[in-house]
Symmetry: C2
């Protein structure tokens, strides 16, 4: 490995920079850290036999998540995808609707729209947030839509554009306040995909609490993990109640009868996974400090390489720095794949941003705006080793 | 409680009979038992940080399930509902198809058909298996369908009847061989809902391995549990591969790229839940012995009460006796609710069978055959405390 790093060229400079931050050993992209009450709480589940979807850790995890995010309600589910699916159903997304979704996102954002029988409509990002650009979206909607009976109609397709699902990319908050203005003008429901942004705030307010609902993920690669897990957060009491009902097979509570009053889902988070989540949440503040520290150390190192910069939180935002992100200058964008190869060969796990949604086979025929910014970003973004233990 | 049990009347006789088997303390319907390597394996997940959907316990659990059931392949997923959904998708169920489903089942069987955009078509049960009656189904299909281009067409609705999903009720095998004959004659794909029947066999062959696919559940109330979990079992290599792909967001394996070649699902079982499953599976033989012993003890007690009988495994079958089941004689069917009330008041958890599917609001307009037997069974079935610790 030494021979690789001692070579010259941008990729090898980047290997050196990463190593000077995370050390010379293997560095994963984002590995969880279990230094708290994880085993104690799980042992309690085993000892009491409450391992499934009813149990005190599920209730506590929901309450802890609501407290932490300052949302009135949290409903814990099996993963972020399930949370998005139910949030969109509760937002009233129906078959044949269009939903505005960033082209630069993980595929779950688009898939959850498809699960509702609706069509994702892809929108461009802003370079300073990596998320949906309110200004570009506003101009685009002005051009392609009209408002009829308080609904936004896509004049090209004739379909209703019902909602927008901004995503807080790598934990960096989107310009949510700008988007709320656009959404209001065009009668769009806002569901925030905050899967990556637990701990990220905008002017002190937690991401996911600006829209009608927000969605969190606790997958194994996230800032805190429940193995697999997610949550819907909302300030709307009725929606919270419906979310719990719909994710619990729509079973009407009864001493023994099985009445299901609609087509529900088996999406609740098991108690054993919630136990892990409760223990992880106790450590979140420490994790966030470490992730911010890691960012600062990367920032110092990458200032020495003029063709790249480490992505920093947008103005007025406090980011969780979930995945540390390197942005290549246009002039070296063609070196992305060689940088990925050299860093991964050096056992420093890096990855590009997701393939853009409109480039994926199932979504290539969906409606989309001009996507120049995300096309450019796709060529220039590289995620770096981001585990808390690295700092 | 003594005063209740000393009263006369059928309900109180039943309380006495249950108590003489399970003792005088609270008895749950089906509580899991963790006396093996559960914590050891979970600790290994925590120590290695592999808690999410990639990990050695997921691989081992799949291999162990395949070995145990003698299926060639097993794909572990989040729960039985997810397994059914994917199995039906892989069976080629499409929007507008009809799928034959028992009216007497847990709602997940019907819901998974709905998730595919298809229509459940409800069929009657056999009193000796509680599952779909092949003879009644054969007569019914003769009457309402015709075969056109190797497809079974419902002549009333004009829709294709694509598949049948027999369910092994409370672990008692359906007449699967009879059903395979009917399915062959009418060109129906068979997906077995074996969610309740891990450990149940027909002529020595495990339930779930007769159809194109079978589906298992490891929910908290099942014979073994992973918290929440399920599996698809199949002897078809291509289907097994597709099941894993479709439940892993349809991501095409690549060193770093995110290519998803179809609309996939986030349904994989987390490693931490699989760890629990591996430990539980090691104890399955012991659990099954205890459940059979419990059945025998109930059988002795309930022989003393002529108006009821304890349900026993069908001919040529070996049942797991997941939920012990009391069958009331017609003459006392009107006492079902009072028996449920008195037993539950006595802290002996009993429950009726599920509300029949065609009585549920979302399914009341679905096609159905004459359902006299399940209508009768619904009034006469009561599940008894069935935990392994009771024996």
């Amino acid at each position: 490995m030494t021979s690789l790093a001692s070579k010259t060229g941008l990729a090898y400079q980047i290997v050196d920079a990463i190593r000077s931050v995370v050390g010379r050993k293997y560095a994963g992209l984002h590995e969880p850290c279990f230094n708290g009450n994880e085993l104690t709480y799980i042992k309690e589940c085993i000892d009491t036999t409450y391992v499934s979807s009813v149990g005190k850790f599920v209730d506590r995890f929901e309450s802890d998540i609501a407290d932490y995010t300052d949302a009135k309600y949290a409903v814990a589910v099996m993963n972020g995808t399930a949370a998005l699916h139910i949030a969109l159903k509760l937002a009233g997304i129906e078959s044949g609707d269009e939903v505005l979704v960033p082209a630069l996102t993980f595929v779950a954002t688009a898939n959850s729209v498809s699960y509702c029988g609706a069509i994702p409509h892809f929108v461009d990002s802003n370079e300073s947030t990596l998320g949906v650009c309110p200004h570009a979206l506003h101009s685009y909607l002005k051009k392609i839509s009209k408002i009829r009976q308080q609904q936004c109609i896509n004049t090209n397709t004739g379909r209703v554009i019902r909602a927008v699902v901004p995503m807080h990319t790598f934990g960096h908050p989107v310009d949510i306040e700008g988007l709320l203005d656009v959404a209001k003008e065009f009668h769009l429901i806002v569901v925030e995909d905050a899967a990556e942004s637990l701990g990220s705030t905008v002017n002190g307010r937690h991401t996911g609490t600006f829209g009608l609902m927000g969605v969190l993920s606790f997958n194994g690669n996230k800032t805190i993990t429940t193995g697999g897990g997610g949550a819907i957060i909302t300030n709307d009491k009725v929606i919270a109640k419906m979310a719990k009902h719909l994710t619990t097979t729509a079973k009407v509570p009864h001493r023994w009868e099985f009445i299901h009053d609609e087509i529900g889902y088996n999406y609740r988070l098991p108690n054993i996974n919630a136990a892990l989540g409760c223990a992880q949440l106790e450590q979140l503040t420490g994790f966030l400090d470490k992730k911010r520290n890691l960012f600062k150390r990367y920032q110092i190192e990458f200032k020495k390489i003029p063709q790249v910069k480490i992505f920093s939180e947008p103005n007025d935002c406090h980011s969780n720095y979930w995945l540390q992100t390197l942005m290549l200058h246009d002039s070296v964008a063609d070196q992305r794949d060689s940088i990925l190869a050299v860093t991964n060969d050096a056992e420093l796990m890096t990855r590009p941003v997701w393939t853009l949604m409109h480039h994926l086979a199932p979504y290539q025929d969906c409606p989309k705006m001009d996507l120049s910014m995300v096309e450019s970003l796709e060529k220039r973004l590289i995620n770096l080793p981001s585990s808390t233990y690295s700092s």
